[in-house]
Symmetry: C2
Subunit: 208 residues, 2 copies
Amino acid sequence: MDKLTVKQQRILNFIEKHRVKKTYPPTLKEIGDNFGITIGTVQDHIYALQKKGHLERKKDIARGFVVIKSEEEQYFDKMKAEADLIPLYGNVAAGEPIFANDNIQGYVTMEKSSKGHNIHFALRIKGNSMIDSGIYDGDIVIVRKQDTAEDGEIVIALLDDEATVKTLRNKNIKAYLEASNSKYKSIINKPFQIIGKVIELRREYNVI
Amino acid sequence: MDKLTVKQQRILNFIEKHRVKKTYPPTLKEIGDNFGITIGTVQDHIYALQKKGHLERKKDIARGFVVIKSEEEQYFDKMKAEADLIPLYGNVAAGEPIFANDNIQGYVTMEKSSKGHNIHFALRIKGNSMIDSGIYDGDIVIVRKQDTAEDGEIVIALLDDEATVKTLRNKNIKAYLEASNSKYKSIINKPFQIIGKVIELRREYNVI
DNA sequence: TATTATGCCATATTGATTTATGGATAAACT
DNA sequence: AGTTTATCCATAAATCAATATGGCATAATA
């Protein structure tokens, strides 16, 4: 990967930008037109870019340019491609469906969800019942959908038709939900259903 | 955007995948070869895709396909494109440079950093001095580089050549750093330098 | 000083790619 | 029953685009 001259770099940038914006790379003529030079001259530049290892070319193939990226760029591209956008749901009142489309407040980027899609979602926390576990009112939790969990894990549970965040207590004969705030009582005698398990917490500080 | 037949959808997918993987769209012949059909047949399919509004075509232009995406897809693409990867630094011992390349533990995706690049970074928290503010050992904070901050904001400060997380107290004549844990003393009489301000907190729960 | 790299032009040829036409069949729809 | 739609085929013409060649000038390099 030898260093490029200003002109060569400009031409390389043009090819890549053209590709991204128009969805296909330019022809030699289009490159020439853009820079006010002839096809022959473009050939020279393309040849230089190839020799320096910044560009690949498919022989006899129209627009057959392949811009070579550095390892770092490739790594970044890969990470971005693997990043998922998961929906952020607002906390709902009792009885309302959680996963309703009009309850989506936005989307949150999340690193590679090794497993399939539609498994994760984000939820904005309301209330202080988990404050002793460092989860505050207004925080966002990222949840992996599952209907079981281990003792001590923080789960989203459906209780009286309302979604709540609690620590699961599974040790004894009977599982129950524990609030992480001494002012709140643990819930023992109500039936509940586990919706998912909290795998990440996010808190946004108001940027002034 | 009429519904597509199975065949039409397959051809549209082929065009898009070809474009992404090879960096340029296929020709009519290449499409035909892939599906074992002739150019004439491909013309028919392309025509149908255009009529149904899923594909645009540049006249007389080799590989001039533009796959039309739904508004949702466009929104997702845009968000992904705007997402930044910022470096995650480990906490360093006194005297060592924080922003050293070999102190990068990984990268974290972050939503649109409205302002330019290189302004944000992430830092893994060590210790419990901020526990009363809900920041725990092992948490990751996302920091915006800046050398001043307001009273009450959580900052990364350089103190005795070591980076620490503290709440800035700016009210009085003299600014000082406050630990959010009653077991720790606030730091009043030492000189410090603000590196940046915490704008987001992330905590990953160990996924079993 | 000879050589190499850069940057430019012009032109002809070959090959790739699109476009245009016409025809055929089966299924779905009016 | 007639019409449209979805699939297919074959072939020729037009033109787009890549390739091949040769030549010129300047600056950097061996």
